[in-house]
Symmetry: none
Subunit: 178 residues, 4 copies
DNA sequence: TATGAATGAGTCTTCATTCAT
DNA sequence: GATGAATGAAGACTCATTCAT
């Protein structure tokens, strides 16, 4: 899986394996052995590159955090590209929420923040980033209301394994924007 | 902590300790040892009263589920009592979300459902119950939109450790109801 | 299963349940709980009637030993009744060995004696009893040889789950008697 | 007992300790702790080298099975070397049965097969191997009769802690061969 | 007399971590 | 630099036995 003599790649492979386990299981229940197996590296490598399991876990979370940021970036870029409106917001949100696998992966980190104070920063980063991106268009108050609704829709999609209908999303967003 | 020879009380104490750990840790990461220590009973008691940790865990979740139902009941009763309106909804919601301890306890179970399929039923029960109670007043579609927003506000309060301002809640709710 | 207020019957039921477990499992791996469940008595009864599990186990073995004696008695009576001869011996032995369930039950105790010195007396009792019953007809030496062969045939039937053919048994017995 | 950093030797030591416990106790009632103590290794070593107790047990049984095969091989070679006859068979059998320690070790596995279906294959292998080796000399039927008698003599020696007299063995064998 | 509550010892197993090689 | 051997702590679970009732 990883070439010998490429420590950085190996380290990366380990972190990615850990991140994959976190999003898969939806829980942060890592063990050195599971990470090693998933990454296709020997057990010793996981302890060689990371002083402790916590450190490895932190690196994996950092990776997921970056992915979440990128995700948000991408979505807001889409909105800007298509022109800001309730309809476009609903479209983009619905598209995103329809990708259950993606929602599931993102939620692992997001919900972990709900219970694990260490991870709260990541969840807040998402919320704050969303508000920051929205407030240029609608002001701080409506931006917060929208972000809250989006989070609710996110939770809803996660739990129901499918999003609210696009039309309902648009109606609600329109209501919040008025 | 518990009187000797009062099996029902002892069983109850164990379940309550487990539930407390779940809401405290926000995670369902129970161990017999932790439950025993929390309940102030010997280790053996936890295995004597529950055939497996899963069974103990299930009993604790059931307890929390009942509490969550009661919570919802109480809140909707309050709304009805005061008269259904955006202002009243915002009041009741804000009061509830201001009680961080309560929010924290409820969220443990709610968010657990996001990652643990076994617990999803509890999360859905809350959402569906809320929708059912709202739709008599506003129709199914608006009920769903409101419930989604309430969930978002719930997540928000959990993460920020304080709710959105009452006024913002009311404005958003009013928008969704229009 | 057992009437209240009949201590002797209850004691008996417990011993019988233990004996049944021993012959079923083929191993002496008793627990109070299993015996209690099998006997349909409360857990406490098993410790009330027997000071320890060893004592209960001993009582069960004693019961099985008695059954083994009765078995041997019955078989030799059959031989005497039909007239002592290689053919009759082969008939009776073959009939007995064909009853796999019976063989299986008897073997539990017999083989246990092979490895557990405490139980050796029971196994020896069977062998010695058989020799004693045979030697009036054929003398001590042939009686021993026959008993050895019978034990071999017993082991064989146990392992193969069916006896040697009747004809082979008769031929062998005839050879040993000559 | 074992050098550090010699995994193969350590693994071997653990298996041998397990096999010794099986033959000693005559029962397959292994525990990690007992094996570890017997082998002079820490508890963790027994679980490190074998994924489960069953796996460890299987390895020990395999070892004993091989020893049993070798035993049979050796005995039949002796018979062939000295020339096949009732006298030689009796000699070799008597010599073997006189070695109580050896008989005891072999019987552990053999009798275990009587009660544990998983181990039956080993017991049958012995019997079938013996028959196969004899039938070239005396035909299948007499080979089976002899093997049955040998098994009986084996059980007898095990239980009485000494074999039948050599002369009686020869007389019986001669009878079966006629 | 009879029983179920009670508990600590012991079982298998997993695993983070250390360290010899 | 890298890795697999090594180990003890901790986890879930079972149970003989004790004992209050």
């Amino acid at each position: 899986m990883t070439t010998r003599r490429d420590p950085e790649a190996r380290r990366q492979a380990i972190v990615e394996a850990a991140a994959a386990l976190i999003t898969d299981a939806g829980v942060i229940d890592l063990t050195h052995r599971r990470v090693a197996e998933r990454a296709g590296v020997p057990l010793g490598a996981t302890t060689y590159y990371f002083a402790s399991l916590d450190e490895l876990s932190a690196a994996a979370i950092e990776l997921l955090g970056g992915q979440m940021d990128a995700e948000l970036e991408e979505l807001t870029d889409l909105v800007i590209e298509r022109g800001f409106s309730a309809a476009v917001l609903a479209d983009v949100l619905h598209e995103y929420l329809s990708n259950h696998e993606q929602v599931s992966a993102d939620s692992a980190l997001y919900f972990a923040g709900a219970t694990n104070p260490q991870l709260r920063a990541y969840s807040l980063r998402w919320f704050d980033g969303l508000v920051a991106r929205l407030e240029g268009y609608v002001g701080a108050e409506k931006a917060r209301a929208l972000a809250v609704f989006v989070d609710g829709a996110f939770v809803h999609a996660m739990l129901h394994e499918e999003p609210l209908p696009r039309a309902e999303l648009e109606a609600a967003i329109a209501g919040l924007l008025r």
